[in-house]
């Protein structure tokens, strides 16, 4: 039996997966990105597909995702992660390919790519982190920003007459025949994280079937952009984000067979 290593005299019972690098993450305290990164890489590690996985990072807060994820990765132009992932998957169809994008990247500048990648049923896993704000550029309005929500570019609150309504792109994508598995998850509680991990496992497993795109929205927080403590942001997420973006499966293989 392998003897667990001791750390400062304590037995290490929970450690990071081999698929995460030693690089300290740059994310703000309480941000959901780090949790999603970890869960994603846990699945890659547990499935034993580190040598067959290629990821595509976006432009946005997770632009440095390739510094943390210990798999082959590409850094795409803003909005085009799913197009780059398409290029990779089409020439390497037996690899596991995922794209990782935020709300501005996936649902504003990259909307055309997002819709057409899913419409073609590209056999990739798309991860969509929705925190209703542009985090990296300093908290501007995103397509998913809630009505009335204050951001640096909606200083009096988002107003539909000027800026339209929150875009529920995941619901749109679930309508497309090319979508195989579409689900909306979160990372604000331990239970939500466990459910997200299950969804990511399915997203990778389904990829081998070559039956279409797997799309996972993660409703997440942005304590810095929302100007809240991490705890308050999770509470605010539950009270405000989840009524607009309710959690659960929007399309599952069983239902898509009907």
């Amino acid at each position: 039996m392998e003897i667990p290593p001791l750390t400062n005299g304590f037995e290490l019972v929970y450690k990071k997966p081999r698929t995460l690098t030693e690089t300290p993450m740059h994310y703000c305290p309480g941000c959901g990105h780090g949790v999603v990164h970890r869960v994603l890489m846990e699945v890659v590690d547990e499935m034993g597909i580190q040598d067959k996985t290629i990821g595509v990072a976006p432009v946005g807060c997770s632009v440095f995702a390739y510094d943390y994820m210990n798999v082959d990765m590409q850094e795409a132009a803003h909005g085009r992660a799913s197009a780059a992932a398409t290029g990779i998957k089409r020439v390497l169809p037996d690899r596991f390919v995922f794209s990782y994008q935020g709300d501005g990247d996936l649902a504003a500048i990259g909307t055309a790519e997002t819709i057409h990648v899913v419409n073609r049923g590209e056999n990739i896993l798309m991860l969509f982190i929705n925190n209703a704000v542009y985090g990296m550029t300093g908290g501007q309005m995103a397509p998913t920003t809630l009505l009335g929500m204050k951001t640096t570019t909606s200083p009096f609150g988002r107003e539909s007459g000027l800026a339209g309504h929150p875009l529920k792109i995941t619901n749109l994508l679930a309508q497309l025949p090319g979508a195989y598995y579409v689900t909306r998850q979160a990372v604000h509680t331990a239970a939500a994280v466990r459910k997200l991990k299950k969804a990511i496992q399915l997203g990778f497993q389904y990829q081998s079937l070559k039956k279409g795109t797997c799309f996972i929205e993660v409703v997440s927080n942005c304590p810095s952009g929302w100007k809240m403590t991490p705890t308050d942001s999770n509470k605010w997420l539950e009270e405000n984000m989840l009524p607009m973006y309710p959690l659960g499966d929007l399309k599952t293989p069983a239902r898509s067979m009907n």
Binding site: Q50, V71, D72, M73, Q74, E75, A83, G87, I88, V91
Partner: protein, 365 residues
């Protein structure tokens, strides 16, 4: 008609189709594109012939998506081509800039049409600046090849792939609508004659026990970004030193040399014949690579000449590179047509005669 692509083969083809067939023969592994006149025959031919080849051919939802698919596939190690015409190439500029920074090889084909704007579908050379000076943001260059025949539409596919992979830099074939549409006899090179190169940097899945590969154009620390730029500039200097290609006709005894690329160089051949019949000693220098530009050769010729005439289907773009090369050692004139109009040999001759007689002439009309 049965074809055997293992051998070279004489065919009569449109330029666009010759280019497409050559791409298969050059071992292209993926093509991404979006229809636009006057080069839609490229994707049409590739789609029709694709079942005979082990090659991805995909029609994207836009030129923006297409170039980013090229990014992904090139980063995954594939030999990739993309083609479009002027407005579509403008849409790709962001992606092309990213590829030069990430050092991804690919072949970009621009079958130019008249602009600016939506312009016209007739041939033009109006994208010379865009092709040779970078085009997108940042300090970068493409390796630019300018074909002048259907034969070269095919041959330069091989050369474009080879140079792009040698230098890990996108290469561009800068053609025009006439070259794309016209039919000529050509000899297609045999398939399999362009070997694949090792790409240990490609993201094909992290090999066990080795470091992961990262394809990126993001270098947030300025010290690192400067190093990347210095590396790129060194690469461009090496390309300038080693890859210049040009052709000359009758420059040995010439008083006046016409500098022209692509289709216009062939028009100038007729002009040269007509001029020589009239006793004017006219020669032609035809740059084949527009970057790297044959500046050194032009500089050598300039002191021996009465004048240089740059002839282009634009408002005078290569003209600036010719003047930079000449550095005042002889007069440099310009004759051009724009907006999809093709200069006739006679009107180029008129300009040459006026210059020989030191008369004024209409620069471009």
């Amino acid at each position: 008609m049965s074809t055997n692509d293992e051998i070279s083969e004489v065919r009569i083809m449109k330029g666009n189709e010759a280019l497409a067939e050559a791409a298969f023969r050059a071992g292209m592994q993926a093509y991404f594109g979006y229809p636009i006149t006057p080069q839609s025959e490229v994707i049409e031919y590739l789609m029709k012939e694709q079942p005979k080849h082990d090659c991805v051919v995909l029609q994207a939802e836009s030129e923006i998506a297409a170039i980013n698919m090229v990014f992904g596939a090139a980063g995954a190690g594939a030999r990739v081509m993309i083609s479009s015409s002027s407005p579509g190439i403008s849409l790709m500029m962001e992606g092309i800039s990213y590829m030069t920074s990430a050092e991804l090889p690919c072949l970009i084909v621009n079958v130019q049409r008249g602009g600016p704007g939506l312009g016209t579908i007739q041939p033009s050379q109006g994208d010379y600046f865009q092709a040779t000076k970078g085009g997108g943001h940042g300090d970068y260059r493409l390796i630019v090849l300018a074909p002048a025949s259907v034969q070269e539409m095919a041959d330069f596919v091989f050369e474009g792939f080879r140079l792009s992979e040698k230098y890990r830099n996108p290469a561009m074939i800068l053609a025009d609508g006439a070259l794309g549409q016209m039919m000529e006899k050509l000899t297609l090179p045999p398939a399999g004659s362009l070997p694949y190169v090792d790409k240990p940097w490609a993201t094909t899945g992290k090999p066990a026990g080795k470091d992961r590969r990262i394809i990126t154009s993001l270098f947030i620390q300025p010290e690192k970004m400067e190093q990347v730029n210095l590396h790129l500039q060194e690469k461009y200097r090496q390309i300038q030193a080693e890859e210049v290609r040009f052709e000359e006709y009758g420059v040995e005894d010439a008083d006046i040399v016409l500098v022209a690329f692509g289709l216009v160089a062939r028009i100038c051949q007729k002009t040269m014949q007509l001029a020589r019949k009239k006793g004017l000693r006219v020669g032609i220098l035809r740059p084949i690579t527009l970057f790297p530009f044959p500046s050194q050769r032009i500089a050598e010729l300039a002191p021996k000449l009465e004048a240089i005439v740059t002839v282009e289907m634009n408002a005078g773009q290569m003209l600036e590179d010719v003047r930079l090369a000449v550095e005042g050692r002889c007069p440099v004139h310009f004759k051009g047509r724009m907006g999809g109009m093709i200069p006739s040999p006679d009107e180029v001759l008129e300009a040459v005669e006026a210059i020989a007689e030191k008369r004024n002439f209409e620069l471009s009309r």
